[in-house]
């Protein structure tokens, strides 16, 4: 592993003490992962129990791996996921060591005392910026501190931008984590600055201009954003939206800012404003895609966007289109995007086609001659056929333009330059540190894959702007196939175009060996030819995406199946989190190309460069001039700096919260309640058990359990079949947030749930919970999932007489009415926020018997052999939506089938066996509709 830099050591010295608890805020890219791992290495021992909380799956495995490299192998970091059974978890906790746990599981384990809380040595919390009063992490800390005041709690974050909302964001986080110390290390911290600026990397900044069509589109999108934004401002004059400007709209956090402003009045703003807000997000995405997607994918995305916007769910034309789509600028976007791919001419272009064919034939002859000269068989003789076929799929009257991204050319030039540089250094024959592997970094895995594809099929001899022609043509072909599928939607019967589709699926499945393989051969040959004259031309292979056809010609096994020497490899990767540090360190590249700008990665290079003295690193930094990319990069820098400054200021003036121990107050409370004989003349027996609520496991996704616990109720987690919360032996509550309410009315699930509750409990209750800080009104409902129904606003829409209700989709209100009519015993709790719910629950529980968890679990679970097991909620939700699956048989299906995928792979008969003939057939047909056309041909 890399050596730690001076500032790393300084930070570690500050925070390593296991008797203190603190929050560390570090600038991104400065090696938080490494600090974390070193810290965990210090704590690792079988005598300790250290929990890692709030790490994503990728982070968990990456940290585990890095710890392994550092020597923590026995047993290293162990992961706890929902797949691990309860018994195994208990065992694991007892053994001690480093354990990473999902927050939801940890909360449940803490509540069920599966984990010895008083024996926990310490908890490490990642992503501290996400902690709020309502989050599970705050709940964990509360449970932890109740029984364990000696253990440490270290929280980490590298996202200072997130800690900015509200009056005193830093204080709130520290209050929830019950911390009193915070360390802030921005990039401009003295130690970090002096460390990193002693040795600088050799950075070459390349400003690439956009092509003219791209510039036009870019300009048009920005124009659309401006109009949308000003429209938004105009339609909400009462709101203080002045600080919203087009620059801030480039960032994702903009959506949150707007929503926060609009939330209290969200029910009043009308569907138009809502549309505008979501349009801004779409447009921002478009800007991003313009710069990273190839012209065909961009065009395809636009078309999908238009298709999903003009047609609603039932296939009719939609009434409320996004306003920006009707502007001139949008027309520019659509037209230019199309023109970047191909132009449509009405005249038949027979003659040109012929001439190009002739060209191809000529070419082919030349190749044949070449083969003869080399005394070898021409490869599979399909060369010219392949080329003709490629022309054949092109519809009449379409001229491919296939504009390429300008950065691709730049990249090709850079690689050329790097090669020359390598040769120069080789000739100097001084020993240089680091490998010759070239590292290319892109913003997403998608654009990385695109670069890889481009490089592997690049035609070096072609003129600028046409080097990736081959790849683009391949893409164009699949694009036409895709367009065919998009069009079938309108015809609705999935006839499609079987010949094209089959063609395509082959192409897709086998990658590029059948159709384009022959093309590849000629390309490889060309390259080989060139290599003779110019020894540098064949130097590079792309790892992963190596063209398969090259191997065919050569007899020498080793050169093609052996390891590729490092100086010939190019690695293309997407920016990710701290894993990049490890990549840099493992690959040890001297040449790094940053295809898109990234603030963090520059810092990573700085750290990398500084922790490996003597290494000469050259960085090529590509950026589109005068584009949102450039702007975003600069604004990102500024934002980070500002948020750090704000945090430092807040730390200076912060009033530190005092944490009182809660236990004393609570005991008193229950005592008074137990001896009170005011109610029913003391008829009840004295109960010494504290008030408790049984909560369904799935409910731990919501914030309510945490708040219930905060109001000194005892939470008992259980897997319930009926209801979400059981308050007393008679009262059972089904909680629905507003989106839930709408969707479970639509799916009919609520009806079944109410049915079940009514059967098993005396007091079934439906809790309708609104969100804190959002409007407390049902009218918000009209826009949620609005595609499900026509989006006319409420007053004009009346569920008219029974004959009309089939036509106009009924509102939530009328469905609620119907529900109460059919379940007169179901009560409804209207709660404006989870806080209000807590009060109501406490009210309802007063002077009632406590519920019995064993009984609650058993209710309604008679037919379910696996009652009480953990559940994958997302999969269950998806399964419920399939036709033929009802609330009654879903449990049975889940016990028969492992996953949705398994269900999909079953034959018609197997599905019918599980679901019964009718529903099984419906289900199977649903799952396989659309591919019928392909299998039939």
């Amino acid at each position: 592993m890399t050596s730690l830099l001076p500032f790393h050591k300084e930070i570690l010295e500050e925070i390593h003490d296991p008797s203190t608890s603190e929050l560390l805020i570090l600038a991104r890219g400065l090696g938080l992962r490494r600090l974390l791992c070193t810290l965990m290495q210090i704590y690792e021992s079988p005598q300790t129990l250290v929990l890692l909380v709030n790490a994503s799956q990728e982070e968990e495995s990456a940290i585990g791996e890095e710890l392994g490299i550092m020597g923590c192998r026995k047993p290293g970091l162990r992961l706890v996921g929902y797949e691990l059974g309860k018994k195994d978890r208990q065992e694991l906790y007892k053994k001690g060591g480093l354990i990473s746990v999902t927050s939801r599981i940890l909360v449940v384990d803490m509540l069920q005392s599966d984990i010895p809380i008083n024996l926990i040595t310490g908890i490490i919390i990642l992503h501290a910026e996400r902690v709020t009063a309502l989050s599970l992490e705050a709940f964990i800390v509360r449970l932890y501190r109740e029984k364990n005041s000696a253990g440490f709690l270290k929280a980490f974050t590298d996202q200072p931008e997130h800690i900015t909302s509200g009056m005193s964001p830093l204080k709130n986080i520290m209050k929830e984590l019950q911390l009193r110390t915070v360390h802030i290390y921005p990039r401009f911290h003295e130690t970090i600055k002096s460390t990193l600026e002693s040795r600088k990397a050799d950075v070459i900044e390349l400003y690439q201009r956009l092509t003219e069509p791209m510039e036009d589109i870019h300009h048009a999108i920005v124009q659309c954003m401006t109009t949308t934004l000003s429209e938004l401002k105009r339609s909400n004059t009462t709101l203080d939206l002045d600080d919203l400007n087009i620059e801030s709209a480039y960032f994702r956090s903009f959506d949150m800012v707007v929503r926060r402003q609009l939330d209290p009045v969200w029910h009043k703003v009308g569907p138009k404003t809502k549309q505008l807000v979501s349009d801004l997000a779409t447009l921002r995405q478009l800007l991003n895609y313009l710069l990273t997607y190839d012209s065909l994918s961009f065009h395809a995305y636009l078309e999908a966007l238009v298709a999903s916007n003009t047609i609603n769910a039932t296939g009719n034309a939609r009434q409320h289109q996004s306003p920006w789509m009707l502007t001139d600028a949008a027309n520019v976007i659509f037209q230019t995007a199309k023109r970047r791919c191909y132009t449509v001419t009405s005249a038949k272009r027979k003659s040109t086609a012929e001439s190009s064919n002739a060209d191809v034939l000529d070419d082919a002859d030349a190749w044949d001659a070449l083969y003869e000269a080399e005394g070898r068989q021409p490869p599979n003789a399909g060369n010219n056929q392949g080329k003709e076929a490629r022309k054949a799929w092109l519809p009449d009257g379409i001229d491919p333009v296939l504009e390429e991204l300008p950065k691709w050319d730049l990249l090709a030039d850079i690689l050329q330059e790097i090669e020359e540089e390598m040769i120069r250094q080789e000739s100097l024959s001084t020993t240089v540190l680091g490998s010759n592997t070239v590292l290319i970094m892109a913003s997403s895995t998608r654009s990385a894959a695109l670069i890889r594809e481009y490089l592997s099929s690049m035609d070096v001899s072609a003129p600028k702007g046409a080097r990736g022609r081959k790849m683009m043509e391949r893409k164009l072909k699949s694009h036409f196939w895709w367009k065919g599928r998009l069009a079938t939607r309108k015809q609705d019967d999935g006839k499609g175009r079987p010949d094209i589709s089959r063609n395509h699926s082959e192409n897709r499945n086998k990658g590029n060996d059948s159709g384009s393989g022959s093309a590849e051969v000629s390309e490889a040959l060309k390259r080989k030819d060139k290599a003779r004259q110019d020894r540098s031309a064949n130097r590079r292979r792309v790892r992963g995406g190596a063209p398969p056809a090259i191997a065919k010609h050569d007899s020498d096994f080793d050169t093609h199946y052996g390891l590729v020497p490092p100086q010939q490899t190019i690695i293309v990767r997407a920016y990710s989190d701290d894993v990049d540090d490890q990549v840099l360190w493992e690959v040890k590249p001297r040449f790094i190309v940053m295809f898109e700008p990234s603030l963090e990665f520059i810092r990573r290079i700085e750290v990398y460069k500084n922790s490996s003295p003597g290494l000469g690193v050259r960085v090529y930094f590509m950026i589109y001039q005068l584009s949102c990319e450039e702007h975003k990069y600069l604004a990102g820098l500024r934002r980070e700096k500002e948020s750090f400054e704000r945090l430092i200021k807040e730390r200076g003036s912060m009033l530190l919260p005092i944490f009182q121990t809660q236990t004393s107050g609570k005991g008193e409370n229950t005592f008074i309640k137990t001896i009170s004989s005011r109610f029913a003349g003391g008829r009840k027996e004295l109960s010494t058990t504290p008030p408790q609520v049984i909560v369904d496991m799935r409910e731990f996704r919501s914030t309510l359990p945490s708040l219930l616990h905060a109001s000194s109720l005892l939470i008992i987690p259980a897997t319930l079949t009926v209801g979400d919360y059981v308050l007393t032996p008679d009262i059972c509550v089904e909680r629905k947030s507003i989106p839930d309410l709408v969707s479970s009315f639509n799916s009919g699930r609520l009806y079944t749930q109410c049915e079940l509750m009514s059967v098993h409990y005396k007091q079934p209750i439906l809790l309708i919970e609104f969100e804190e800080n959002k409007s407390f009104s049902l009218e918000t409902v009209s826009e949620l999932k609005s595609y499900a129904k026509p989006s006319s606003k409420y007053p004009s829409k009346k569920p008219a007489g029974p004959s009309d209700t089939d036509r106009a989709a009924p509102s939530v209100q009328s469905k609620l009415v119907l529900l109460t009519l059919h379940f007169p015993r179901v009560r409804i709790i209207w709660s404006s926020s989870p806080y209000a719910t807590t009060d109501i629950f406490n009210d309802l529980k007063a002077n009632n018997y406590e519920p019995d968890s064993a009984r609650a679990v058993a209710i309604g679970a008679e037919d379910d052999p696996e009652a009480g097991a953990g559940v994958n909620a997302a999969a269950e939700e998806l399964l419920r939506c399939l036709p033929g699956i009802t609330a009654k048989n879903v449990k049975y299906v889940m016990s028969k089938v492992q996953s949705v995928r398994e269900l999909c792979e079953m034959s018609n008969e197997q599905v019918q066996e599980i679901l019964g003939v009718g529903p099984g057939k419906a289900c199977w047909e649903f799952m396989h509709k659309g591919e019928k056309s392909r299998s039939a041909t």
């Binding site: 929902y82 797949e83 691990l84 059974g85 995405q285 895609y289 961009f298 995305y301 999908a304 769910a313 296939g315 998608r446 894959a449 895709w482 599928r485 969707s743 799916s747 009919g748 079944t752 007091q763 209750i765 009104s777 049902l778 595609y787 499900a788 409420y794 009346k798 569920p799 009328s814 609620l816 009415v817 119907l818 529900l819 015993r825 009560r827 409804i828 709790i829 209207w830 404006s832 209000a836 009060d839 109501i840 009210d843 309802l844 559940v871 994958n872 997302a874 999969a875 939700e877 998806l878 939506c881 016990s895 996953s899 792979e905 649903f926 799952m927 396989h928 509709k929 659309g930 019928k932």
Partner: protein, 207 residues
Amino acid sequence: PVVLPGTGNNIIINPNQRLNPVLECIRNVGKEFGDIVADFQVGRTTAVLYLSLKYHRLHPEYIHTRIERLGHAYNLRVLLIICDVSEHQEPIRELTKTCLINNITIMVAWSYDEAGLYLSTYKQFEYKPPDLIKERLDKDYNTILRTALTSINKVNKTDVETLRTSLGSFSDIATSSSDQLQNLPGFGQVKVRRIKDAFEKPFRNKA
């Protein structure tokens, strides 16, 4: 002229509601005044008490006397609350408890229009079967596909369109690889992982 409650298709209104602005908002059903214990009788066995929170704040004892007088009459008893104050949390909490004890269902409306809608819907739906809120099977393919796929967090309708057009059937989507998904426009790592989780992770763990 006070008449006895009839059996017809009209909402029967207690005369003490005569000046209530809600009456204007009850549309599409007939109205008549009659001598009843509740404020509105919207069905043979359904009665509604009406309460504005503003009024409740001034006369907190009023609703209790009304509930008392209601006794055990009617099968479905509804308390229709007009939420016209900003400090609604406390009164709603208190009323929730009262109603639970007295077997009354609370409905909350935020405007007279909405309250009127509730009242007229109660009457219109008096004999309506619950098919509207039961599970239905007669939906067309595209709607089901959309509902199913959008039930996965982060997947929106544009994504559904992309999935359908580029991968094909539902089972094709289920069996496609992460790389394949990642290559679709608009699909990032998080979205792909969510989709994979929903399709491929087992429903239950083995414990």
